[in-house]
Symmetry: C2
Subunit: 409 residues, 2 copies
């Protein structure tokens, strides 16, 4: 089997005005849809980060992909790595913002989809076989501004409880994650207590202020939320800061910020900075890399969960296949999926029922690209007026002079 | 695809009287040939450790394997693990001597061979694709007694040099590994100097006394062989002992004794006990596990080589597929293969040329079981008169009262 064409189509997906420590979501989330055509007639698909950087990287990597056997993935990973290293100058600036791990991952997903279609097997089978047929996800609770959506403004503990109730009613989520770092830490602690009161101790709660806090604040919050949080995610920046918090915090610390690549693991492990790694196949270098991360987490006694960015159904399918194949992912995974109403796959949005997504039944990823829908979202990308995500700039449109908290709240 | 039959056939393979710190090789090496029949008509094959323990384990695991999809490997690994744990009492004593990692690995190899045959792909493709089409192996030099073989007695530095010369002439090996722990450490140091003098500094040399030495001896040997050894393998027992030696030794320390499972890695890494891990898919839980070990070694700055036991061509093919798919295996791999003259695969022994084995061309492992040859080696097993390897007992037949050195030479 040989890859005959690599297409990367930028799309913009309507996104509500969600808040985080980084600022405000723009009206559109940017994604890239990847298509890998093969000489066997099957076309593998994938989805990754959006905007100018991935497009430049896909263009730069094109000659490494076309003509290659889709099974030939480890060699492709090494080739991308050395091409990026060798051509650090020639490799366009935009492309360098989309690193080799993310670039390889995007192609690997499409290649595994193609292999799955070609062999009639699900992607999870190609990763070693599923240990679960349904993957649990958590409700991803955001403070948000009022917008062109049905959720309205959510900027208080009570409003978060109402949002959580809707999320649970609609999707059956059995775990709740609050994106913090938005309001005063006191208010966010209060919000967690309100969620606990509303839903009881059987519903695991997580809080993720995206490293907005100081170590002192994190110590205080962690101590007060003893017995309330399942885990505390990225309270402060950096491995050393996380280690300082971990030494005091009664609950596990999780991260998708200070440990985002394999190279970060030795220091984090040596310093006991984190107890739970939030995997993300888009970021960590692919689906097989996530299986490998699972082995590392198991070997070193780390827990494993899954991080999310705003995404469409191709990514949700890929995340579901990965989480099904990685026994170490025992926590409900993050997903922004309920926040996106648009879709690029045939049949529209995948179902989340009982807080879980069932493994799609078909071969490969089990989802099919709706080319008309992709075309419409591509048109939306062209009209969106931006090609780089900048949540801080978006926030400053509303509050001029707004600056993110980074370890100082 | 469904597994319809699991067969484990014990065989005995003629083996020369090789010496090691553990004693003397018996006239036969015991191996087990695994066959996994499927409802698609293809039969996957594998090869693993021999004797009574594997047979008991295969019998105990039979119900977990029959009726399972060969792709369903991670669930099988977990099922074997929990069955062994749950039935620690009921699981026959013999079976418990062949641990879950080895048991799973033996079945995984046969399953991947079946998948490869079913999809027309090589096993290395199923592991992520080959980064090399030829895999380098090292000449495995042994002190030995005279026996029914053409090698004669090898119990002096000069005789080892002659053995190495024959190995190089016959197979083109470009790396030399001496199995030590047999003669006085002084004589083994002298042997290394003789090898260096005979073959020059372009031929990497390794010495492996299988943990026979004391830390003091290891310090002395390591210091004197500075600039001569590529790596020193298992000079002393245990992670703490290895760490003591590593703190002084100018060359990297390698191991296949103090780090033989993923659980051993955290302590070994924290104590900087070893610089190179000798992988072995038979021991570490399979071919995918070895890919995962590669990721760990890369992430933690460890080198990676490959260990061997006495084996036939099915294992050599599997080792070649694994080493081809794991970029981190940059050292020439160990193999006992030249010491075994008998074979169970069609066409007889695989070729070692230029010190390397080419990836077999066919689908799966690319080797085919010769059932007549297997039958003959099975008959030999039934006549061999033993079902558990015991090199020390074999040694005592010649030197009554012989005891192995364990960290005390």
């Amino acid at each position: 089997m040989i890859v005959t064409e690599l297409r990367a189509t930028p799309v913009a997906v309507a996104d509500p005005p969600l808040r985080s420590a980084f600022g405000l979501h723009a009206p559109f989330a940017l994604r890239t849809i990847v298509e890998l055509e093969t000489d066997e007639g099957v076309t593998g698909i994938g989805e990754t980060y959006g905007g100018a950087a991935p497009l430049a990287a896909f263009a730069a990597a094109r000659s490494l992909v076309i003509g290659r056997d889709p099974y030939d993935l480890t060699p492709l990973r090494l080739a991308i790595g050395s091409r990026v290293a060798e051509h650090a100058e020639g490799w366009a600036w935009e492309a360098r913002r989309f690193g080799p791990a993310a670039l390889f991952s995007a192609i690997e997903v499409a290649a595994l989809d193609a292999i799955g279609q070609s062999t009639g097997r699900r992607v999870c089978d190609l990763l070693g076989g599923p240990v679960r047929e349904r993957v649990d996800f958590a409700a991803y609770l955001f403070f948000k501004h009022g917008g062109n959506d049905a959720w309205g403004e959510v900027l208080s503990p009570d409003a978060i409880v109402a949002e959580a109730r809707t999320m649970r009613d609609r999707y059956g989520f059995r775990s709740l994650k609050l994106k913090g770092g938005v309001l005063d830490p006191e208010v966010e602690v209060q919000t967690i207590f309100c969620l606990r009161e509303a839903f009881g101790s059987a519903v695991p709660l997580r809080l993720d202020p995206n490293a907005a806090w100081s170590v002192a604040t994190a110590h205080s919050v962690a101590t007060r939320l003893d017995g309330v949080l399942e885990y505390l995610e990225d309270p402060v920046p950096g491995i050393d800061g996380m280690a300082d918090v971990a030494a005091v915090a009664p609950m596990p610390l999780a991260t998708n910020m200070c440990v985002t690549a394999f190279d970060h693991l030795p220091e984090a492990i040596a310093k006991r900075a984190v107890a739970i790694v939030l995997s993300d196949h888009h970021m960590w270098g692919g689906m097989r890399a996530t299986v490998e991360l699972g082995r590392i987490c198991r070997s070193f006694g780390l827990g494993m969960s899954m991080h999310s960015n705003s995404h469409l159904g191709i990514s949700l399918a890929a995340m579901t296949h990965v989480a099904a194949a990685v026994p170490e992912i025992t926590f409900a995974c993050d997903t922004h999926y309920p926040w996106q109403t648009e879709e690029v796959i045939v049949g529209g949005k995948l179902a989340i029922e009982g807080g879980a997504v069932a493994l799609p039944a078909g071969p490969g990823l089990g989802v099919t690209l709706d080319r008309d829908a992709m075309g419409a979202l591509h048109e939306q990308y062209l009209r969106a007026g931006f090609t780089v995500r900048d949540d801080a700039a978006e926030m400053r449109k509303i509050e001029p002079g707004w600056r993110p908290h980074v370890g100082d709240w």
